[in-house]
Symmetry: C2
Subunit: 146 residues, 2 copies
DNA sequence: TTAATTAAAGATATTTTAATCTTTAATTAA
DNA sequence: TTAATTAAAGATTAAAATATCTTTAATTAA
């Protein structure tokens, strides 16, 4: 459904939310290994999530790394999708029409509408922290290893 | 949700189902104009839908063009998605894990499962002909014009 | 048979996405 | 201050998706 960038972004924030705090920062090496993603590409993605410290925070130098503050962990998954520019993917018309709406619908519109709404609700209500907690419990994974 | 290729493919088959028959074939020019898509690219896409005459049929030469037989019009939208290689997009894990399953789920798995199932049912039950009929009725569109 | 018309096929070009690499800047601790 | 460590930034490369162009083959009608 989403781009590779977004998949890595989601896995990264779930991992960072689960393992980091202001006292315990994580290096890019550690993160990329944990979520099984290409290191330099993951670094690029984290840079965009770090803009304005909105989702991920970072500090350069020794003992530095990436981390998330409690407030950020409580953000919905939607916040990540928004930064990654994926909102449109969910919202846009199945047939790719520029303005497909109630007033001027495509033939899939009325059927897709309710499914789309469920996707939006899911991503807007589910928080990063909830996903991190699920993963911490065990038996739920965010990488391809094993 | 889908690639541009697939969006054009869906719009094209809906139009062809609505306007063509074995006696009335449609030129690529006509089709591309009707669905507001790039002509040569649309031709390429129709070529793949024409493979084995499974979905679209074609005849070269004067009075030739593209058309669909009644049996093909009754195919589900899923058949088009399959040819276009989009099944994976719907089925695959939200976080991009290679094998995300009941046995080894990602943290979005259980929540996304039911939405995914609805998408599958929608595309497997809705036929090309049904979409064509909706469009023929007026007030429902498959292009960006007007 | 010839000319016209149309799709098929294949080569090419452009754009976007994915990924890597190199240099710079920031921070820390010795 | 110096050396080590780490992310930031930007340049570069690679691959895939999107789009176009040109040539060939098939078909029809004059």
């Amino acid at each position: 459904m989403f781009s590779k960038s977004t998949e890595y972004a989601l896995r990264a924030v779930i991992y960072i939310a689960q393992k980091s705090s202001e006292e315990k920062k994580l290096g890019i090496e550690t993160i990329a290994k944990a979520i099984d993603s290409p290191r330099p590409f993951t670094a690029k993605i984290l840079q965009s999530l770090t803009k304005d410290n909105k989702i991920v925070s970072s500090v350069s130098g020794p003992k530095g790394g990436f981390y998330m503050v409690e407030k950020a962990k409580k953000l919905p998954v939607w916040a990540v999708l928004d930064v990654m520019g994926e909102i449109e993917i969910i919202e846009k018309c199945v047939l790719g029409l520029n303005q497909c709406s109630e007033a001027k619908p495509c033939p899939m519109h009325s059927q897709y509408k309710s499914i789309k709404q469920q996707l939006i609700v899911l991503f807007q209500t589910k928080t990063i922290q909830q996903l991190a907690e699920d993963t911490a419990g065990g038996g739920i994974f965010i990488n391809n290893l094993n």
